[in-house]
Amino acid sequence: MTNEKISIKKLYALSSESRRYCFSLPLKHTIRIGKRDYEVRLKTDEKFGTYILWKNRKYPVEVVRSRQNKYEILFNDISYTFTVETPFSLQRMKVLGSKRGKAEKEFVKAPMPGKIVDVLVREGSNVQRGEPLVILEAMKMQNELQSPVNGQVLKVTAKANSNVMKDDILVEIKVE
């Protein structure tokens, strides 16, 4: 491990849509766009809390979640999820990724506490990305929980008319 750290010259932030941002180490407080370097600052003050200062504009930032090398960042009210990889872990990931194939599972969880109004899929149903799976009622609104992936429903744990807690698993999908 120690050896690895010493030789790290770059880090990659991979977005959930697989866009890759590369930063050289030590991490600079400037980012080059075209031929110009622009200063980027992480700051905090009483009025605005934590924000990033970029091209004379303040953008609110929050760390929503972080686990190991995975970060969910709220930037200007929009959430982005990144995994930060070293050149080595990136290489390892590529190798593992090709071995593991596509038999991955996706868990659809309740984004908030509420009541299941309707379950629209059954075990074995084929679903498309964006297809509604479950109707969850919370805060006077009926919310459609959609499939994040194309795949096949492995398990349905959600039951109509039952109450669920935040992050309860509702549907398990085998990713196509």
Partner: protein, 522 residues
Amino acid sequence: MITYIKITVKTGFKPGSTRYNMKIKRILIANRGEIAVRIMKTAGRLNIETVAVRTAVEPDAMYLSYADKVYDNTEETSEIPVFLDIEKLIRIAIETKSDAVHPGYGFLAENAYFAQKCTENKIVFIGPSPDSIFKMGNKTIARRIAMASNIPMAMGSEGNIGNEEEAVAIAGKIGYPVIIKAASGGGGRGMRIVRKAEEMDKMFIIASKEAEKAFNDPSVFIEKYIENPKHIEFQILGDTKGNVIHLGERECSIQRKHQKLLEEAPSSALNEKLRAEMGNIAVRIAKAVNYHSSGTVEFLLDSDKNYYFMEMNTRIQVEHTVTEIITGIDLIEQQIRIADGEALKFKQEDIKLNGWAIECRINAEDVQSGFAPDPGKIESLSLPSGANIRIDTGIREGSVIAANFDSMIAKLIVSGSSRKDAIKNCKMALDKVWIKGTKTTLPFFRMLIRHPKFLNGDFTTAFIEKDLDQFFYNSEYEEMLAAWLATKLFTEENLADDSINVDFENGKEMSPWLLNKRINQF
């Protein structure tokens, strides 16, 4: 067992201000949140005392600090929320010697029985008569009244539909698609669109069940479904002397699942002639039920500018603000004056629409997850101010957006001399709203006010579902900057030892709060 907590004491009359000689001296606010604040602000200006109700769900809510008196109901163990408990509210009004009740919107605002109970107990209900509420609240009765007054309507069933066979027969006559609606309905519940006869059985049962659950009344009726309409509504005001006028229209087509997100006044779809025509019809409907107080007549406007009466809302609306801005009339004040027995001080020809106003409903919702509610605590809040900006809100830093109530954080109302000007001001104002702690609808509005179809006024109620491929706006480099931050956090957590040259100097800029939040994750 009555407890008063005196929170603020108003300082009486300002020098030079007029002393209003009203019969109403004290109003019980049978509501919470921003509308409670809104009503109390106007009442204060009219030197009328207000009583607010403190609940266990939000004992420190902002609206309480605007009331002259607070009735403490935090010990109440009843299953029914107090704002829906008619008997309890009447008791509170009597105990607090309130001579009037303002219901706000939602809760009991359109409950004829509540209005009736108030009247029986000699408490002025600030709103229309129980009879008007009942007639307009029942959509089949409202349809019959409108039909008798020759109001243009979508073709539909004469009254409620008894069973699936009857539904199929009527739908066959008027032609598909049709929409099944709850007779006692509103807000999109108990509604189902049916595109072919085979779907009718299933949809009829679903709509009827949903109606029974939501409104305690399974009756439904059928209407021709108007495809891709605009939602245009007219604000009307009527007094108890029989005068009714309209204050122009509001454009409310930007909605998702019948929940309005952005409203504007006036609408770019109407010209003077159409405005006068539809406005007169709105007035005619109101007169047909001897309407007094503030009300809203909703129309659907199709692409050929045919309009159809939909329903009348017998309350103050969330979006009343945009009308107030372009007419200069305080609608809450008018409601109070009308309830007090005053005649309207202006005639139809006195109403002039000036400029343009846009309201954005900033809700605690996650636009990246299909507008799912995102309840939570407001960690920090900074709202813009200025000549073109009005903010109506019932929350402040530290407030909790509870799952029990709606998800509204604030209404951002921006005005301008023209639509273009209002949009420009809105764009700037949206960048000055800072809310931390929950996700909000802000990124949606930032996208919307840049969308060419919105800019051209070329949008219908189907806009969000059909014309959008992304529900939020992020400018160039925003994702990159977020990636930079993730990388920065990673270096601080994993590489902060002597083996690598991490910039400790800049690490000090990290907020203690951010660090705490991160530490808590582990």
